[in-house]
Symmetry: D3
Subunit: 248 residues, 6 copies
């Protein structure tokens, strides 16, 4: 079920049998010369929908802009500051907890979100308990990073080996090609591509990774691969979601 | 052009000829017994896409969750606090201004967002000037409320008269039916429906408007109406966008 | 009753029969070559006192500095950021609600305050309910803009026609002349005066409106007009206040 | 000169010869059974006006609500949280520094403001330098507490001895009687009055000081005393202001 | 007892008989050519430990970085903004109050902390009461400034007279020499040393006090003096702590 | 070199040859029935000092209280909220960057700090660049978690196998025993000990882990083990620090 396509009485009924909700979170940031700026949001959203169908779970609207400050020297990149994102997550969880949700499963498409999400979860548990919201003590959050699942990782390894890289990867590009086959972009990719540097600020990032890729060769991506990634990720995260709900 | 389906070099090129960007902003809130919780985001997004096509303008990803605190006693409603939303808008505008955008046209689907958006704009102009971001002085923001356009308003009046109401209105429901014909909901609607009360806090709102509607009869909505609203709104806001860009 | 001229036992007694309070809010900003910097605060305060007398209502001290960031490139202008003003309003309402006030009627002298005030009200309802302050659910806020009242608007139209303009208007200047006849300023006013531009940041504002006026001719103002505006506004807002208190 | 009764060109001219401004800050809090809730603001404002006249200095509008959280269990008391007040002071100083003021002399009527004001000054110097506002390095703030001046203190001692107490004191009440002779309140005062306890939270304060006085006997106050206090304070603070301006 | 060398069951047991805790707070800031950057933290910590032993009181870990923004133009100085420090104190007090502490005695080594600490206490009382933490109404905070105690002050006067000065004083340097005899620094000290200026921003401070001292001659310090200061301060603050705990 | 035992001219000289600084960060939280509440701060501090000596690096004072909200239902635990800790880190880095440091190596003793630290680093890079601090673009931060080093991990495995657990582990307890042999605590430890649950809020944590341990047997710890951990961690992190400094 998609929250945005539901009515409030439908949500009320859903809450009778489940208090779980899936929240897709992506990013709006450069993904190299050929990757879509919305890559991380697109991937998180499509997989969240897939998991939602498999697990009969409610899926919230996608958080399209995440923590991508290091990409903001490339045109079109957008980001929240971590301190802003913590407040956003607090607001989301407070509203949803007030009316009965207690298990929040974030399906995440962007590595840069992980730290801030975890920080936000800690702050949210504390905030909800301090505010004495009924059921605050039952609230639990979990992040499921689709690109870090075992089967996804293995598939990427098989298909691309070292050319998977770590940003603007062929795996994520493939997944967006599967979702938006009409938006496949082609451009000459310089070779070799920079890789291996740690991530610091936005100026430093653009200097080290001038075309935005980190060691990846997105030219290898195909929509068919994308379908495989989609299926692997949905399967794996559906299981994770079930385990999350069932954990005592 | 959709920002999320663009690459950063495409954005760089776009910025050569235009510094304008359209940002759809909706809400995730109850819309009565039959209205979709995502109504405001769905409407803002579809119209923003339409205007983007007409005007050859860049369209940013939709802000799905807005300022709907007064709806948060209904299951499934989500909201940012105004103080959070101001920070979100500051972050969006700072990132986009840094790389060259200066004219921000928000296509808005929710009356509850207007005050906070305007407050955020004021804070953003100040913040950007204080931060000495090049071009800060050229930054301008405008809100285009699709539901308040003259032609849209007139159409709603003609089609529904007084039964348009002011929340969960047949016009917005019709537009979502046009976008998602498979998600048309039916439920018995009590009559008469409450109307005429001012909006205060969430508890007060739910007590006064127990099924979530404010004086509206969404049963009157049809997908065909939705198409008409869509076309009227796109036409009107495309003109507004052009005027906004061309204003000295 | 003026809060600042009352004792706490008098307030305690007042609360036995009424939970309403009037809070004047103005601004400290340039008002053109001849308008007083305190114009908006002066107008809000004098009208609030008038309404307080008519309605036997408690009147809080005036918020002298409001949201006037766009005026801050003119010497002597002062402003709160919207995010600061929201916190100020939260603090005011929390303190007053804790000891029994629940109906807050803001008499406002400055258009630039409206958006932030409304945003603050939404945040306050939420904050007070979350903090579980007794009576939080009964809290209601309303803005009464003296310059937007029907009779005031009509009077300005009659007296000044198009020369009323929209900032440093003869109507508000007249009202300050009525209150402070010894502080009537004269200076040559350039003609024609700029008008018709939207309001963005402070640098843009000063460039467009170099002497601070927006389409107005404050030379038309007289203290006698001021008295008429005072009487019209007090009458109209007294009625609004009564309606506000009596609304269920 | 009163800022609120000046025009911006007058302020511009003033800045040619002085960069100093006086900012009165009071409080809106209970002052015992007979003291006015606005006592601290009234005192700060009248003395600031007096000093402004003596010193030909600009006087900003009064900050009516200060840091009085410990009084907020008495009806009618209002307060900012210290963290809010710091933001308010930052906003005031940033706006005024931007257009040329650099020496900020706060005439303070309330002991509870002192700590937060000093904290705010430190934050402001840092903030203004970080923001690279021209002249930031020249900015200086000082608090002048009228009630702590040597001559005022001595006068209170002479007139009231131990009955001066430390809150709702006869000296401050006398000064308000001088300003508002029509608002002199009388009520039976219990004796002895509580005194000698440190100040902690609001609940604790009201328990210890049930009628709001701290060791004082405001019955001793007269308007004539008030005049003496006024004159002593104006004289002393005028000198302080001159020294402040002239300090290298 | 030192909190960091205790186990939680030991703390639980301690709380059976006392709800008091000592929190040392220092600063990390330049202390002239020969004073240690950690002077204020070292002094606060050693005295807090001494008082803890004398009074059988729990001692929390030292807050090493305080409010020293005016020193931050000297290499190695660190500071919190006052608004940050208020949040830090709120977090400390909330955590400790939740599990049973109610009397917080800050042993302070830095004058620059006092204002912000007092502001923070006011905000904390309010915050804890608003959050309805059990026992919130019993919470009390007090600052004990070791360098302002009567016996310490007298000793400094006797030993150093006017050469005590007001920053990088021989008394505090002596105390650090007593604690860290291996870290005694020597350097030529210019004479005369600047003194008598008020403290404003960081740039102004370094211009006026180019070597960081304010009127002091730290060359007079000896470890033996340090021992005397230690003993005087511990004795005096132990008594203060006892009085604080026993106050009704 | 320890910053707190240095003078500012010594820091100035140090900055001639290195811009690196080590910042130990721990936590003040329950560590089971026998582990010290200061365990994480003690471990981080001692290792930081060791690395500082090996690498001739400056070591800042220890951040004693970190992000441990989930432990705050045990007496004596203290925590910052993540949003507070981000501001603290911003303040630290801003002050130190202003005077010349650019490479910040956090030696961390607590897993719960990692997410918030990383979020804070992202915010700091952005903040420093926005504030246009000279050298902002050269700023880099890194976390070195002593307990996650390869050699430390291996040693723990060898010595304790599965009984290492994940909180109040014998390895960290051993290290504190090495540092504070007089503070070795003994208490009966229940067996088996809870393990394997994810970490959510404070109430949930205490319910699942009633004595505070997570799958660990701290009884196995000895001071001699502690020495081994100390040496392994210092060696490994010294190398990490060198690599960090030398990375282009």
């Amino acid at each position: 079920m998609l929250l945005h396509l539901s009515t409030w009485p439908e949500v009320e009924q859903y809450l009778q049998s489940s208090q779980g909700i899936i929240i897709p979170i992506g990013s709006t940031e450069q993904h190299g010369p050929t990757g879509l700026i919305g890559t991380d949001a697109i991937c998180a959203e499509i997989i969240a929908k897939g998991v939602g169908e498999e697990a009969q779970a409610m899926v919230a609207p996608t958080i399209n802009v995440g923590m991508a400050l290091h990409h903001t020297n490339f045109p079109g990149s957008m980001s929240l500051r971590p301190s802003t994102m913590i407040q956003v997550i607090l607001d989301y969880l407070t509203c949803l907890t007030k009316t009965g949700f207690t298990r929040f499963f974030f399906i995440n498409g962007h590595g840069g979100n992980i730290a801030t999400l975890k920080a936000a979860f800690s702050e949210a548990y504390y905030h909800l308990e301090m505010a004495k919201i009924p059921q605050a003590e039952a609230v639990r959050c979990q992040v499921g990073n689709w690109f870090m699942g075992r089967s996804v990782y293995q598939l990427a390894k098989e298909l691309y080996g070292d050319q998977e890289g770590s940003h603007a990867t062929p795996s994520e590009v493939a997944l967006t090609q599967f979702v938006y086959p009409d938006a496949i972009k082609k451009a000459p990719l310089s070779s070799p591509v920079a890789s291996g540097h740690a991530i610091y600020g936005a100026t430093d990032f653009r200097r080290r990774y001038p075309d935005g890729r980190m060691g990846s060769n997105p030219d290898l991506a195909t929509p068919e691969h994308g379908k495989q990634f989609y299926e692997a990720a949905v399967k794996e995260l559906t299981e994770s979601y079930h385990n999350f709900l069932q954990s005592e």
